[in-house]
Symmetry: T
Subunit: 151 residues, 12 copies
Amino acid sequence: MKILVINGPNLNMLGRREPPIYGSVAYDQLAALIQEWSGALAVSATVFQSNSEGQIIDAIQGAGQYDGIIINAGGYTHTSVAIRDALLSVGLPVVEVHLSNIFSREEFRKTSFISDIAVGVITGFGTESYHLGLIALYEHLKKKKHAEDKN
Amino acid sequence: MKILVINGPNLNMLGRREPPIYGSVAYDQLAALIQEWSGALAVSATVFQSNSEGQIIDAIQGAGQYDGIIINAGGYTHTSVAIRDALLSVGLPVVEVHLSNIFSREEFRKTSFISDIAVGVITGFGTESYHLGLIALYEHLKKKKHAEDKN
Amino acid sequence: MKILVINGPNLNMLGRREPPIYGSVAYDQLAALIQEWSGALAVSATVFQSNSEGQIIDAIQGAGQYDGIIINAGGYTHTSVAIRDALLSVGLPVVEVHLSNIFSREEFRKTSFISDIAVGVITGFGTESYHLGLIALYEHLKKKKHAEDKN
Amino acid sequence: MKILVINGPNLNMLGRREPPIYGSVAYDQLAALIQEWSGALAVSATVFQSNSEGQIIDAIQGAGQYDGIIINAGGYTHTSVAIRDALLSVGLPVVEVHLSNIFSREEFRKTSFISDIAVGVITGFGTESYHLGLIALYEHLKKKKHAEDKN
Amino acid sequence: MKILVINGPNLNMLGRREPPIYGSVAYDQLAALIQEWSGALAVSATVFQSNSEGQIIDAIQGAGQYDGIIINAGGYTHTSVAIRDALLSVGLPVVEVHLSNIFSREEFRKTSFISDIAVGVITGFGTESYHLGLIALYEHLKKKKHAEDKN
Amino acid sequence: MKILVINGPNLNMLGRREPPIYGSVAYDQLAALIQEWSGALAVSATVFQSNSEGQIIDAIQGAGQYDGIIINAGGYTHTSVAIRDALLSVGLPVVEVHLSNIFSREEFRKTSFISDIAVGVITGFGTESYHLGLIALYEHLKKKKHAEDKN
Amino acid sequence: MKILVINGPNLNMLGRREPPIYGSVAYDQLAALIQEWSGALAVSATVFQSNSEGQIIDAIQGAGQYDGIIINAGGYTHTSVAIRDALLSVGLPVVEVHLSNIFSREEFRKTSFISDIAVGVITGFGTESYHLGLIALYEHLKKKKHAEDKN
Amino acid sequence: MKILVINGPNLNMLGRREPPIYGSVAYDQLAALIQEWSGALAVSATVFQSNSEGQIIDAIQGAGQYDGIIINAGGYTHTSVAIRDALLSVGLPVVEVHLSNIFSREEFRKTSFISDIAVGVITGFGTESYHLGLIALYEHLKKKKHAEDKN
Amino acid sequence: MKILVINGPNLNMLGRREPPIYGSVAYDQLAALIQEWSGALAVSATVFQSNSEGQIIDAIQGAGQYDGIIINAGGYTHTSVAIRDALLSVGLPVVEVHLSNIFSREEFRKTSFISDIAVGVITGFGTESYHLGLIALYEHLKKKKHAEDKN
Amino acid sequence: MKILVINGPNLNMLGRREPPIYGSVAYDQLAALIQEWSGALAVSATVFQSNSEGQIIDAIQGAGQYDGIIINAGGYTHTSVAIRDALLSVGLPVVEVHLSNIFSREEFRKTSFISDIAVGVITGFGTESYHLGLIALYEHLKKKKHAEDKN
Amino acid sequence: MKILVINGPNLNMLGRREPPIYGSVAYDQLAALIQEWSGALAVSATVFQSNSEGQIIDAIQGAGQYDGIIINAGGYTHTSVAIRDALLSVGLPVVEVHLSNIFSREEFRKTSFISDIAVGVITGFGTESYHLGLIALYEHLKKKKHAEDKN
Amino acid sequence: MKILVINGPNLNMLGRREPPIYGSVAYDQLAALIQEWSGALAVSATVFQSNSEGQIIDAIQGAGQYDGIIINAGGYTHTSVAIRDALLSVGLPVVEVHLSNIFSREEFRKTSFISDIAVGVITGFGTESYHLGLIALYEHLKKKKHAEDKN
């Protein structure tokens, strides 16, 4: 099982960026945790980060070899139709995650162009959101495979 | 660690209720799964369900002995200020879960009176949402206890 | 043919309640009229009333033995996602009725969480709305049975 | 008792027009059914159809000899202040009917310029909506006459 | 100086139509008054009425021989882009008049598709609105002619 | 017959103020024209102007000796509940006038706190709006007196 | 003079519930204060509390023996058409009170389904709001009785 | 204890102004009542009225010698950011009062620029609103002094 | 291949009507151009124009013999649910065209009741829009026929 | 005549991307078709695609050597003020094209930051939209050149 | 070069008024600073302050002798059409300044009736906003004079 | 003191881009002017421009060595949550500048995702906006340093 974890703009600033909101774990530590959690699930995870909307779209388009995508599109979550279209274009199961609780912040963070096309959304648990996202996607893919095997 | 799992209106219909949206697992099976998942985390979970807004508020008010609440308030999620106020009145950490992806359904399901006062939200993963919610609340409480022990 | 007639909050006050809007027929008289009209259609009708949203949901969930539901959810019409979900959970044909013309009153009465999932809506004809509702549901069920018999 | 039944634009296409929404009964059959139902109530009904907003207004203005109006204004329901004004100008009791359930379709069909000035509204029961409308108007006129006789 | 006075739907019902709102002067009397008032200004007025949006557009398109238009488009005021376009297509000065005060009635009467392309608007003075409209258009045309003579 | 003509803020700048919108007639000339037009109607008119909302309210409150009010509240038209309340407090017939066509300008000029409590509104005819306003109020008062004499 | 004081959901948590917003007086103390204040006015007060919308409606419907109602509907203030309808159904004078200033909190607390049908509203003075409410209702009932005695 | 009572535009018209809404007590009587009520509380009250927004701001700015303000800003309640800013600039406790129930009138009266910065709001009890306002402010100041004395 | 080209209100004024917006080609010339362009595609085109909404609906309903419709509904584009319903009732492929760029004009021209049920939309190219519309419909019908032949 | 054809994000996925919406023609085939269609018009076309908003802006800024632009900005159509500004900065005629009918999809696709500054818009005809766009731009440029030659 | 600096309501409270928002510089100090900054630019500045909307309008109307206006209209910024009209009536270049950052405060402070008719806006730099405003207006007037001298 | 000046998309087109809006100074000249103005303040300024949202975010993230940021984010001002988040992530004082007066242009330019997190905003003064921005940031940093030195 191969999973692509996509991190959008400013996530590379993790640890240094508004710690009361995003926590004090550094981005490299998050990447390492994702590898650790994936390992525990026997899942192969690739972690990608970019500040550029175009590069994120490129990464999604190139995700043909993966079974699913975990995405924290950062600020692009609320503004990017193009990333939504890219996700739709590859047709893979998507899990949307956020470090902070986007519902207790500015009004404009309550709109996501990804949520309604994702399998599900996990928001507010800090780095743990990624851990939960990995489990969620893993379980979803297992169930999906099980259903396909049946037919 | 003691956790109260609150299920709102119509969740007792699980398995019989719109299966393409809510899945085919019966409510009793969900309750058993929650006990199983809790056991694996060495957490003691109480599962409560009611179709009555007032009884849900009573249950929340009586949650003094618990360390945290997982709530799927069903239809009341989108309409109940009173349940929000009850959650605020006990001051416990709350994790909001939903079986279906509320963002890909009717417009009115995109508003929640609980999300912005919760630690976080997990939505769209079927019964697995509860499993993720248990892990999320467990990790949150561990971190919280750790921080309290430090001070 | 068995039909469940559900009356929501304050309908028990009929006759005493704002007569220029709701008319002077008492609730007991309405219940008797419903029985009379049902009898004329050779339909067995059960009339239920409650001021409690939870009890209305309970009643809907327990409607397995009925062929269809006539509902006047009173004030809950405009605010209850939970009653909507209960109606969806049992999957029976629903006819929504109102005594008053909800379109010539306060703005908030123009929104119904039931209308779009009902077979149809009848509003504004006083107690006669129930009579029309019975005929409508009776004809709908006949046509439905006819179609099922054909296949 | 004389009743004018007004059918607005595209109702003449009944039977050929989007059958999953409007049913397979042809317009002529509907007209015959209305005569049959009226006969059973000993009511004299005139059925009028036009695709022209102006002609519908003309027909309403010329309704002086009728006791009441049943109107399915079709697409003009949602856009015509002029038809509303015509109905107000003759001051007759009006029953608004629709074949389809206008609340489960496009957003713009939820607005009616007729509903708040009608006695009541019946929507969603196919051709049966007209039958119910005839009964509703008949009962309304009987009650009205009864009240007038009393004074 | 030749002026075309256009009356929209239901104005032919004047006198019989909701007298507390529109007054008790009959339409024929209004037409006679317009002739009388025009005569006093030495203006030749043609009075036209139709319930049909299309015929009103035809009338406007054929207004080439007139110096200006007084229009009370009735219910079409609030809904007709096509009449607006017709008025723009002939490029004549337009004065919009209304019998009732459209600002103290239903919300939807506060929107006019004519007002912003008219020279001005006169509303609320009963039949006197037409008298004022005639004077207003007469003075506007005089001033316009004066300005053209100057250049 | 005594009429109070109230002019709000910046009307004293007439002639110097944005001539393409408000015309080139000076404020003194307008005041003289109002006297001339009133004289022709055998009406006694008092013309008042102030840039101060409070002084306009004072003037309205002191209008007990007048039979009616013509008001061009200028910019306060769109923002002053207090002037509306003052007009309501004296209970005199009010005619609202504007030099420019407020419907073809900025969006915020389309809202008036006076229109719905006035007898009627005249807008867009330059200084002629006042002339029409005088005739309108004069005719309204005559009709009112006539009706009162009758009773 | 008999008054029914109705307290909605979570008011039983008073003293323990968000003290910076609701104060530190316990619910029992509030109930005692209400009795004390009523005694001083020689008014007989019954204090009722429920977390259930249905039970609050029941209590209102059973208020036939009271002269007036003081209600703090808590979270139901902002969401319950059914409680509004119950208050309308008994036709008693209603005074709406709130402990906190609902206008300085979340946006959704600014809407009340009770305010426009109440005699008046008192909000923001902590437990003193009830004291003021008692005086207000007492004075209102005295004035009402005085007016009735006169006729 | 010294209290400044500020009355906004048109309150000087009390008794003569729309009595069904504002009652028949004259403004001078209200002023006398305020003195009487204040005397009973051993509070020194100054009553100020102005139709001018600027003078009201001046009065607020000069309120340094008072312990609190009771304000009925009349029509300015709904439109004046400047009065809000003046109240904020002096930092005194403010109680907002209204004679009429502003929630059962025009839509625009439901917005207040004062409510969210006031201690609380009292609306709908006629002149009694001021009495309640005096008690409310008196109790608030006592509690505040008590708390300050403690520290 | 037979195509019906429908032109709505005021298109007969082409050439004389606001030339900076609609161009200087006369309506007859446009009709001739359509014939010329159709000829080049070996398509038989019928060109219909009416100012009447009802006649346009009649024309659409009678389009049974055509393979597709090109429609420029003029002002009715933005207001007519009835024309939309007529187009839906015949079920033919529709291409919506406009002479002017409706997106760079008044706000209300941005709403079309036709666009979402059309194959596609062409707007802004003057008379060339019809040429493009013909090619578009021709290619669409060819592709459709090709697909049908295949099955 | 030189034309720049700009394709935005995800258009490189054509053929593989949601075929029921975007069709089964591959992006390379589309590019070849554009060359073929351009050749037939004796127009030199350059086709550019990028997933990056910045690169699209760069391409537009560098379009000095072209006579016009055809743009399908994909998801950026609905969100990019910066691309709009780039188009305005070069001042070339722009034709906006879309493969799918953006008016029959999600609500947010109905807003375009390009439409009102384009010559015109063509939407819904699959790859044929580009063909029509080429003809439209070609005819526009010919007409423009013709007009310039005249002066 | 002569500049009029207009300060609106509550600016005279500077230094005493909400210091965390408006700073601790007193109003007299600000006035002195403005003179100092003007002197450095060899500009003659007059500083005017009033709490009265009417007096501010008077001051603007009397600004004929000045070359430009710097205005901080305080609370009137967000509510006064009349001040906007006054500024338009004198036709001088206007620079709008604010001490606080109006975009990070209450929602209603984000609307200004002055911004779109000003040369530009400077907000958020405390008293320095006036310094920048002086430089900005000075540079604007120099450039304007330079352009006029050229022609 | 080191300042980073960030210019967003299309600012490199300055001088060639819509000169009536943005002026005729070329981008290189602006860059030189910024150096000149910085030099006069003894500030070291780095000027950066990019059309790419991602590169602008990169530049902001790399601004650790600067004391403050001046940003004109061009079209991204109105659409980029990601740039806002980047500015928040580095926590430096930000001054937002614009060449044109964004309040007198299209509606969508009135929304900025930067304004409420900036120290202040300067808009409308052409290239002078940058000069004022430099002074503003310089004074802000001086004051900040002064305050820090004090503690």
